[in-house]
């Protein structure tokens, strides 16, 4: 009896020691992210293979909510680093002076499109997510619709009431679509295009991934969304085709940035360095066909091969600095009308 007690006690003591010694080395890094929920564990595990001493504490939500959270916490940041948030959002934070510029090791391996142009970049890209159209073949056949091949196609009368897209005032993907049309068709042409498209839109959703999910579920034949969502739904067995419109597609990237004022700067820099290594990029490549590392990306199942070549030369700065004006204009044109019948 006494013996067992002794054993138990010493065992407990040893365990306690182990816990404390472990806690002494490990750094808890608070990482804000909008990376897909299903990828989080994989990302953290792969990172920990190389850096077991840094413990990632994820704060994950959709792009809009993470951005709002970071902006709300501007004077009292809770995050140490952002890993996987839209570059457009990071531009917003950079212009508020919220990011700590850092030049990660191996930056030269990256396509210059994929990082901030300043000599010491404030953010560095991981992978690109591209706009795309999800087309439900079963519902398309039922409604006698041919598959669209271009953005202009979507304004054809036959698609009236069969198209759904995200509202740019609630969704970053929606804004990506709008800002890319303004770049593809020019300022005036872009608004003309949206005027025509508006006639065909069944409704605008609040989230960027919903249009594709709705197309996958047959709730609507055509969803303007991003390709990643479509590929995942197709993998799950949805009867959809992912269409990359011929005029070119807008895109944004998931990027990494260190929050100014973090007291775990060293760990944050380690993560930033690692986030652009070949290993990390290969990890992103399992779901995203376009990554920042030059000449590395392999095609990803269900993504059309023309994805990379049709990405437009997206001007992130234009999008960020004109965001308020564009959103106000959009709201004036399309949001003040009541429900389109």
């Amino acid at each position: 009896m006494k013996h067992t007690l002794c054993k138990l006690l010493s065992g407990g003591l040893a365990a306690l020691l182990l816990v404390f010694s472990g806690a002494g080395n490990a750094v808890d890094l608070t990482v804000y992210t909008a990376v897909e929920a299903e990828d989080l564990k994989r990302y953290a595990d792969t990172f920990n293979q190389d850096h077991p001493d840094i413990n990632i504490k994820w704060v994950r939500d959709s792009t809009g909510i993470v951005t709002a959270k970071l902006m709300a916490e501007k004077d009292n940041p809770q995050a140490d680093i952002i890993w996987g948030l839209a570059a457009t959002s990071l531009l917003l934070m950079k212009s508020e002076g919220m990011l700590d510029p850092y030049k990660p090791k191996g930056l030269k391996n990256l396509d210059p499109k994929f990082y901030d142009g300043d000599s010491v970049p404030s953010w560095v890209g991981m992978d690109a997510w591209v706009a795309a159209v999800c087309f439900n073949t079963v519902e398309g056949k039922k409604n006698n619709l041919t598959a669209p091949t271009s953005w202009k196609d979507l304004t054809k009368p036959m698609y009236k009431g069969h198209v759904i897209m995200p509202n740019p005032n609630s969704s970053g993907t929606g804004f990506l679509d709008v800002s890319s049309w303004l770049q593809i068709f020019g300022e005036d042409g872009g608004w003309d295009y949206m005027d025509a498209l508006h006639e065909n839109i069944a409704r605008y959703t609040h989230s960027g991934s919903k249009p594709c999910k709705l197309a996958a579920a047959g709730e609507i034949p055509i969803g303007v969304s991003f390709a990643f969502r479509g590929a995942r739904s197709k993998e799950a067995g949805a009867p959809i085709d992912i269409i990359i419109p011929s005029e070119g597609i807008g895109w944004d990237m998931e990027a990494t940035a260190i929050i100014a004022g973090t007291d775990k700067l060293k760990a944050a820099q380690t993560l930033m360095d690692w986030s652009i290594t070949k290993k990390a990029m290969e990890m992103y490549n399992t779901s995203y066909p376009v990554v920042g590392y030059k000449n590395l990306a392999k095609p990803v199942k269900h993504f059309p091969p023309e994805t990379l070549s049709r990405m437009i030369d997206n001007d992130f700065e234009f999008a960020a600095n004109n965001r308020k004006r564009i959103l106000a204009e959009w709201q004036k044109r399309y949001d003040s009308k009541s429900d389109p019948k």
């Binding site: 929920a37 809009g64 951005t67 709300a72 004077d75 404030s122 609040h206 579920a217 709201q331």
Partner: protein, 689 residues
């Protein structure tokens, strides 16, 4: 009366109170301490956050043209510095001569925290290919400007080539004023939401109150069977989040819906969907109030009507309706408030139809425009406060209808009437149970509508948005904490208000604070909490992003109804208990623990189940406050639906339903036990009450 009582208090203090009440002074000190603590709670959890939100809504941003100075060099040396204001004035003057010139208009100067103004607008001849060089500086470091996305905050001169100068954007300075409200009312899209919200709330109120009245009437005035069953099913919507009916409606009437044809081509996404869903989730609230109102009718009035040979129809309009009118009013206001402040339902099924509560979300989450979010919140407060104050006035007018001589109404069998009632109640309960059933069915389908085989895939929450199973576990934790902490806070508060004889002014102030949460939309409260608690200067900043803030917010959000329940229960107890206790020199806490709490135990249990159920289902109050460690099931339903994972959202919604159902059953069981143990005195033999 209040002032005279307050004067008396002052007098009592001035004229050496110990002489008058020598033994209760210690009690009084403890009691006022208690009252202060609970009062302080309400001030911190309610008054201060609301104040923070109000001040946010009047925090404005504008481009201060006088603060920026420019110099131009066309190769012939630098021009004299000119402010942006001076350049703009020049533009206005020259506009008369040159048609295409566009000066910056005064209304363009009002902006949000994220506003940007291109510096090139002040230079009509600007060309990015030109060789002109530009200099810019700000005079005070009150604002800033951007080079691309790099922020410059100093007051030095910065020099740029033409090609770089086009990347210069002026940022806004902070000020205070009503500009945000002006922008709100001059933006048609925002203004329209107000109209929509009012319209939807009125229509839903009308339908819900009529339906609920019919239902309550059938329960009270017929002798049909299955009354208990009907009552239980009609209460079910209270156990689910308000957005669950939205999800059910998508499955029923969406483009792939099972009963799509019934809508005759109309879309469920929009006003129709919002109204049907609103009727569903507000039905039990209206039903409870109206049932209570009908229950206190006096049978003698009906006997009089019969002996006067009044028709059933006439009796209905001259006896039943007038008798229940206060209940109907009350039900209408409660429903109106619930609908206009609800956020989940219009978000899920509202489609294009803009409502105030969704606008707050769009401003805050979609555009990170917190100031405008605060403005919409304040606007949303107005109809809610209005409805609330009218209700208060109406309730005050209500006089006791039950006199000692009243005879409770006993319905008599009437075959035809009973049959109609039965059919009506079956229809209503089929509607309610149907919507919940559809959700459960949808949750079990593998891939609607292409693969209808059953599977549990949709319960695999861990690979989806919303935080996984942990969210459900967190919700249970939140509900338990809220139930326990909330009941204690509310009951103590109510006890202080009801059972103390002094400090009248403090008590009325407290009573006012306790009634306020009823009128505050959850979303407004949540947003106010961000502004208040996330301020690093706030010493309570530590509870931000913890379970603590969720508990505080939820308790506060549902404070009023709990408070009223407690007060009602306490009112049943004669004040003589206090007198007796003090004459026996027993401290009040002994009385509280030995007599008051046991007697009021059923009410205490009612408060805790009310708080529990609401903490499980609330979305609007916590949507801005949850953190990665405290994701919640109700928010997960919203987020999964948002991401397009509608079936898993339904599955999680049903998990909330079952959890609440279990809690409810447990509550029923415990109440029964407790009743037997502590409430035996209520059924003393021969007692007729």
């Amino acid at each position: 009366m209040m002032t005279s009582a307050a004067q008396a208090t002052v007098q009592a203090i001035n004229t050496a109170a110990p002489l008058i009440r020598p033994k209760t002074s210690r009690d009084d000190k403890i009691m006022i301490g208690y009252m202060l603590v609970v009062g302080l709670y309400l001030i911190i959890a309610l008054a201060l956050p609301l104040y923070a939100m109000l001040s946010k809504s009047v925090s404005t941003f504008y481009f201060d043209l006088n603060n920026f100075e420019f110099q131009v060099n066309n190769g012939d040396g630098w021009s004299a510095p000119a402010t942006a204001f001076a350049l703009n004035e020049k533009l206005k003057r020259e506009k008369l001569k040159r048609e295409k010139l566009q000066a910056v208009q005064p209304e363009q100067l009002t902006t949000s925290s994220d506003g940007r103004l291109a510096a090139t607008v002040f230079f009509p001849d600007f060309s990015f290919r030109g060789s002109t060089r530009y200099r810019i500086r700000q005079i005070n470091p009150a604002s800033s400007f951007l080079v691309g996305s790099r922020q410059i905050v100093d007051t030095e001169w910065h020099e740029f080539e033409s090609n770089e100068f086009r990347r210069i954007y002026l940022r806004a300075s902070r000020s205070t004023g009503l500009d945000n409200y002006r922008v709100y009312f001059s933006t048609p899209a925002l203004f329209l939401s107000m109209k929509n919200s009012l319209l939807i709330s009125l229509i839903s109120t009308l339908i819900t109150v009529s339906l609920a009245f019919g239902f309550a009437y059938a329960l009270a005035r017929s002798t049909m069977r299955f009354k208990g069953l009907f009552r239980i099913i009609a209460m079910a919507p209270i156990l689910v989040p308000s957005l669950l009916p939205g999800i059910a409606l998508v499955y029923l009437f969406g483009n792939q819906g099972m009963l799509k044809e019934l809508l005759l081509g109309e879309s469920i996404y929009g006003p129709i969907g919002i109204v049907i869903g609103s009727v569903f989730f507000t039905f039990p609230h209206a039903m409870i109030i109206i049932t209570t109102a009908l229950a206190i009718s006096d049978a003698r009035l009906y006997e009089a009507a019969i002996s006067l040979r009044a028709s059933r129809w006439k009796t209905f309009w001259t006896v039943t309706i007038p008798g229940a009118r206060y209940g109907l009013f009350s039900a209408a206001f409660v429903v109106f408030n619930l609908v206009i402040t609800d956020f989940g339902l219009p978000k899920v099924i509202g489609g294009q139809y803009n409502m105030l509560a969704v606008d707050i979300y769009k401003q805050v989450i979609g555009q990170q425009n917190f100031e405008m979010g605060a403005v919409v919140s304040v606007i949303l407060l107005i109809p809610a406060l209005l409805a609330f104050s009218i209700d208060r006035v109406v309730q005050k007018k209500q006089v006791a209808q039950l006199s000692a001589r009243s005879v409770p109404f006993e319905p008599k069998p009437h075959k035809q009437f009973d049959a109609i009632c039965l059919i009506y109640c079956v229809l209503v309960t089929v509607f309610i149970a149907g919507l919940i059933g559809v959700c459960q069915y949808a949750a079990l389908i593998k891939f609607w509508p292409y693969d209808l085989s059953l599977s549990l895939n949709n319960y695999n929450f861990d690979v989806m948005d919303g935080g996984g199973w942990v969210s459900w576990y967190n919700s249970i934790r939140l509900a338990l904490y809220t139930a326990v902490a909330g009941t204690i806070i509310v009951f103590c508060g109510a006890y202080m208000v009801e059972k103390t004889n002094r400090f009248v002014a403090t008590r009325s102030a407290f009573q006012f604070l306790a009634m306020m949460p009823m009128a505050i939309p959850g979303m407004v409260l949540g947003l106010a909490y961000i502004f208040f608690f996330n301020n690093p200067a706030n010493p309570l900043n530590g509870i931000y992003a913890t379970m603590g803030i969720l508990v505080v917010c939820t308790v506060t959000h549902f404070y009023t109804v709990s408070h009223l329940t407690a007060v009602t229960a306490l009112k049943q107890m004669d004040r003589e208990f206090e007198s007796v206790a003090s004459s026996l020199k027993q401290p009040f806490y002994k009385l509280l623990s030995k007599v008051t709490v046991p007697v009021c135990l059923p009410a205490v249990l009612d408060i805790s189940i009310y708080l529990f159920v609401n903490a499980m289902t609330t979305v609007s109050a916590v949507i801005f406050l949850y953190s990665p460690d405290t994701t919640l099931a109700s928010v997960a339903v919203l987020n999964m639906d948002d991401a397009g994972d509608i079936a898993p959202a339904a599955a999680m919604g049903m998990m909330i339903f079952y959890s609440n159902l279990c809690a409810r059953l447990l509550h029923l069981f415990v109440t029964r036990k407790v009743m037997r143990k502590t409430q035996a005195w209520r059924t003393r033999e021969g007692g007729s009450d």
